[in-house]
């Protein structure tokens, strides 16, 4: 078919030249709207932030060029690393729980061995349609020690009232909100990948005497490994940008979540409460660098393991 088309095109030399010009220009024209927006609202702001980050404004000295001083300051800023540590603790707890649940549910749904398949698939996905702000707000109410259902049940049973908003429980509580929001989304991604696996493989497994569980573990999982990798990387990137959930929970956990709880909250506070745009830009870039390093190290680690 392709050969035929190529032959046909070759036999019509008159049409060849103009369409080649069109063909060479077309991709750039198709890309133009995206690239214009990309440059205007992504590249330019980034370059501007880069520029901001090498200046410093002081009341006495005015604005002056300080080279990498802001970065050095950020690098030795305990508040920044405290935020990064929060994120690492959050990510190590939340990502495995969420992705394992998503994977298990996707495998169950894909195996078809359940009742109400499409009901579960759709309803697990619904939290993704709930804005993060509202999810955080709802869980904020549910966590409440005086009016939350958990507190009410505990009181009714005479148990001690659980406090979800203490310094030790706040990270699991935020992890719970994120898990509630995104498990269904990741499940749908895994489900789509699983559905693309040819059914002949399942038949082959059955012939070999493998059960559904063995088949899932040894045949299906390796086949969707690239998809799993992508979801892990996106989850890492998403975790490192944590902002809305803790920012909303400040309202009910004022003493537990401070202005540098995560680097994004820190940068936001620096900019819009402290007016320290230059330093905030450096903090954001440093967070970007941490994100890139973590993602890269993770990719390297998994690739090496894949080769062995």
């Amino acid at each position: 078919m392709a050969d035929l088309a190529a032959d046909a095109a070759a036999s019509m030399p008159r049409r060849r030249t103009p369409s080649n010009i069109g063909r060479r220009l077309a991709p750039y024209l198709f890309l133009l709207p995206f690239l214009l927006l990309f440059v205007a609202f992504l590249v330019v702001p980034l370059l501007y932030a880069l520029d901001l980050s090498v200046w410093r404004t002081t009341l006495v000295g005015g604005t002056r060029f300080v080279w990498a001083d802001n970065y050095v300051k950020a690098f030795f800023d305990q508040k920044f690393w405290y935020g990064v540590l929060t994120l690492i603790r959050f990510a190590l707890l939340q990502i495995p729980i969420m992705l394992i649940l998503a994977l298990v549910f996707a495998l169950i749904l894909d195996s078809g061995v359940v009742y109400l398949k499409s009901f579960f698939r759709v309803s697990f996905f619904i939290p993704y349609a709930v804005p993060t702000v509202i999810a955080a707000l709802l869980w904020g109410y549910l966590y409440s020690t005086n009016s939350g259902p958990a507190a009410q049940i505990a009181t009714a049973l005479g148990w001690p009232v659980p406090n979800f908003l203490t310094p030790t429980s706040i990270i699991p509580s935020i992890a719970n909100i994120a898990t509630w929001e995104y498990t269904g989304y990741n499940m749908i991604i895994y489900f789509a990948a699983l559905q693309a696996i040819p059914h002949e493989l399942e038949e082959a497994s059955v012939v070999d005497g493998a059960g559904g569980f063995t088949h899932a573990l040894y045949v299906k999982l390796p086949l969707i490994a690239p998809t799993i990798l992508v979801t892990i990387i996106f989850s890492i990137i998403g975790s490192l940008q944590l902002f809305s959930e803790p920012y909303l929970l400040i309202n009910v956990a004022r003493t537990v979540i401070n202005s540098s709880f995560t680097p994004n909250i820190y940068a936001y506070t620096l900019s819009f409460i402290g007016q320290q745009y230059n330093y905030a830009a450096a903090v954001s870039f440093l967070l970007g660098a941490v994100t890139a390093v973590v993602s890269y190290v993770f990719m390297l680690a998994t690739q090496r393991r894949g080769r062995q």
Binding site: A9, S19, L46, L101, V114, P131, L137, Y141, S244
Partner: protein, 292 residues
């Protein structure tokens, strides 16, 4: 053989019930916050604190709460609802169109700088929001776009995930044969795209639209930073403000039920829209091949 089969199907039935129970358990967890917002918005403020959170109280107060919700602050909520809606529609349609043609270019053409540009697009996903939004705030203030709807809509048109998704879909859904056939017939590149390819891409276009729509509907950080006046707020920023004053203010305890009613109103339309679009969209992704 027959005996083996019945034994197997008894085991099969047990597994089936067990796995269904596992999913049902997670469904209960998924449903708790939704149930809470539904019951809470039907209660009076004293009942919200005085009755069990996950069930209705005897006093059905939903209509009064909805009335109060839209009356609060001279109808601010209705304004926010409309803003959220039209920011999301414009961002969704715009992003879907822009991503579709960009994804088509990346998928079906070879050109100088392709690999570099594509790596740039992928790398963009890694940039922390604050790194973008803070300079965006300063730049938008210089071109007098700050505190206007454009300050929210225009940046949301840049949706790199959409380009990524589109390219992957087009690689599979639009065969080179179709494009070559179009060229042989003398159709221009844009005509081939708009008449032949675009129709095949509708499922993916709607997917990108839904994702960009939801991203806009849910966005909090960007509007929080670039908007100042209540008349431009989307739901997220407006409700978060009310929540903060309800949680912080001693005199504002009436607000709690209003915040709950507001939360209910802001999630119901998206969930309903999602349920509608979901069928069309998932079915489309599964059957998008033209290779037959």
């Amino acid at each position: 053989m027959i005996v083996g089969k019945t034994a197997q199907s008894a085991g099969f039935r047990r597994t089936r019930w067990l796995l269904t129970a596992v999913l049902a358990l997670y469904f209960v967890y998924t449903f708790i916050p939704i149930l809470y917002v539904i019951t809470a918005s039907t209660k009076t403020n004293p009942d919200l604190f005085g009755t069990f959170g996950l069930w209705f109280s005897s006093d059905f107060h939903l209509w009064q709460n909805l009335h109060d919700l839209f009356a609060q602050d001279r109808g601010a909520f209705g304004r926010w609802l409309w803003n959220s809606f039209y920011y999301a529609i414009l961002s969704g349609v715009g992003a879907a169109l822009v991503c579709t043609i960009a994804g088509y270019a990346f998928s079906k053409y070879e050109f100088a700088g392709k690999r570099f540009l594509y790596a740039l697009v992928l790398g963009a996903v890694m940039i922390p929001q604050t790194a973008l939004v803070i300079p965006l705030f300063l730049l938008l203030s210089q071109i007098k776009l700050l505190d206007t709807p454009w300050a929210v809509i225009l940046p949301q048109l840049v949706f790199p995930q959409g380009v990524f998704l589109m390219r992957a879909y087009i690689d599979d859904a639009v065969s080179n044969e179709i494009i070559d056939a179009g060229r042989v017939d003398g159709a221009g590149e844009f005509r081939i795209f708009s008449t032949l390819a675009f129709r095949l891409l509708m499922p993916a276009v709607s997917t990108v639209f839904v994702l960009a729509f939801v991203a806009s509907w849910n966005n909090y950080f960007l509007p929080l930073v670039v908007l100042n006046s209540s008349e431009h707020f989307p739901l997220t920023v407006g409700l978060a403000n009310w929540y903060a004053s309800a949680a912080g203010g001693s005199g504002g305890s009436l607000l709690y039920t209003i915040v709950m009613a507001g939360a209910l109103v802001s999630i119901v339309p998206v969930i309903v829209a999602f349920l509608f679009i979901q069928r069309f969209w998932q079915g489309g992704l599964a059957t998008g091949s033209v290779k037959a």
